[in-house]
Amino acid sequence: MSKTITIDGVTRIEGHASITIDLDDQGRVSDAQFHVTQFRGFEKFVEGRPLTEMPSVMARICGICPVSHLMASAKACDELLAVEIPPTAVKLRRVMNLAQIVQSHALSFFHLSSPDLLFGFDGDPATRNIFGMMKSHPQFAKDGIMLRKFGQEIIALLGGKKIHPAWVVPGGVTEALSAERRERILAGIPAAMDIAKRGAAWLGSVVDKFPEEAAVFANFPTMFAGLVGPKGNIEHYDGAMRFADDSGRAVVEFSDPRKYSDYIGEAVEKNSFLKSPYFKPKGYPNGVYRVGPLARVVMAEQCGTPVADADLARFRSCLGRAPSSSFHYHWARLIEILYGIEAIESLMNDPDILNARVRARARPNRNEGVGITEAPRGTLIHHYRIDDQGQMVWANLIIATGHNNLAMNRGVRQVAERFITGDKLEEGMLNRVEGVIRCFDPCLSCSTHALGRMPMQVVLRGPNGETLDELRRD
């Protein structure tokens, strides 16, 4: 007798995602799917708007990572203007993008994922969250808050506000950095670095205490994708787009962002509004690949900064060059935090960083432009077409979480196969399904995150729709 388990409300954004797990006649998992049931529609409703509005409009996709959309959108618009933006503007954009990555990773690791690692995946759900952490591990909670604040303050110091700054524009940025603001940014570096080092050291010390989770949290070989720097270093703002095999070896690399569609296909499933990008040469669904911190860390030859590289060496000595388990996204995130802080410090000390030339002005000179950046969760692609008056006629967005959709689906199935047996549901199963999704830190409409526990309902139904078992969290 086959059955279906529906997890309705697995979400980091107001309950707009669900999971379906199908069981066969023997009660074994036969399929599992992660459905995103919300609809954004930004690609459609920007049609007819002037390109100059795009960065600010597209930033509204997300309240957590608006900076990432600002960057990708502005880069697409730079292409439409066909301008080379001033070098100082590139550096300032890099700083803001890195600050965004630091603050977002801090949220993901300290606020959302570390409660599972501190209290265990079978810990009491009433305390297995950031508020429980504040009671039992206040320094850890404080570290997360202060690190996130560090990144957000840099965004505010550069862009005027933490959320939806309008400072990144086609052609550069609107305002140069003042010496006073540079000093304020630099003043925050030592404390942020201390926190990041503590977090990385702690995670490195406990990572081998979760062998079961590491074994089944989306643990399978896939390709990886993301930007890489000129020497193969880790890269978040520009550089070449690379696809690598499951060992991290480059398969395809291209510098012209417009070539993305030669290699990325977008499948659409009837039961999800989240597209399923795939590596075209391998076809759908075999062309599964992962993006984000794990992919970037796997593909990079090095970070290029001493503290991050030391932790990367430790990561590789423990896990190898290309760990196949998505559980290790957490450690990769901490390496990127270390790198981000070091890189921000380096950029702030660049003698050119206070240069007043930060914007190139031009009219539209192309009808098509693509911008690719690395968001905290992975590669973010904005592709625009405009008419001769500079008005948008078409847009396509490939969001970082979308690239990971196929891997998340397989990961949910893998966890379900390991933890679901027969007709009975256990709380630990629920949390591990959450946990595998949380490794990817999805931002389904790029807008929100759960604090420790997602609202969730799991219903185990018989073939005639009867409820066999139900677990619910509000």
Partner: protein, 182 residues
């Protein structure tokens, strides 16, 4: 109105007063809190007083709250008549079991401050009744007038707190109270 976030909370220094205005400035009267604090932020009262404007309260706000002796949270409210002002005393409250959170309440921030920094300020909620929450940046006339009035009241209160140290010190900050004539 200056929609940019303001954070002049001198990092690491103890504060006598922290005023936080929060709300969505793109939904007209929901931006009342930011509007009040934007009006007040021109006050030059030294570095023991700080003003913050944020889109919404988040855990990161706990750091500055943990440094403050008094905190005033200014927000828009649908529970107050349009253009009216309600002041109420706040106490810390442990968060319940809400799993999803875009936003933390002032009471939760006070609780967090106590847990993480071992102290929390005397705190008040100042709510401004809203008339129009549609899309747009301009406040409705009644709310705009209320914001101006409230900024004046809070400014007086703030100067009293800052410049009457002998009187202020004689009061236990956790027990004092204030009112706004509406």
């Amino acid at each position: 109105m200056n929609c940019a976030e303001i954070d002049n909370s001198a990092r690491g220094r103890p504060l006598d007063v922290l005023v936080i205005g929060y709300g969505n400035t793109l939904r007209r009267d929901d931006g009342a809190g930011p509007a009040v604090v934007a009006r007040m932020s021109g006050m030059h009262e030294g570095d023991r007083c700080a003003f913050s404007i944020v889109h919404q309260l988040a855990p990161e706000n706990v750091e500055e709250i943990g440094r403050a002796r008094r905190a005033v949270f200014v927000d828009a409210s649908v529970g107050v008549a349009p253009g009216k002002i309600r002041v109420s005393r706040l106490s810390s409250r442990e968060p319940g079991g809400r799993a999803l959170t875009h936003f933390v309440s002032p009471q939760t921030l006070l609780w967090m401050s106590q847990k993480l920094f071992g102290r929390s300020p005397a705190a008040w909620s100042v709510e401004i009744g809203v008339a129009d929450l549609s899309v747009g940046e301009a406040l409705s006339p009644a709310v705009d007038r209320a914001c101006a009035r409230l900024a004046g009241h809070l400014g007086h209160r703030l100067r009293w707190w800052l410049h009457s140290p002998e009187l202020s010190a004689s009061l236990n900050a956790s027990k004092e109270d204030f009112y706004v004539r509406t």
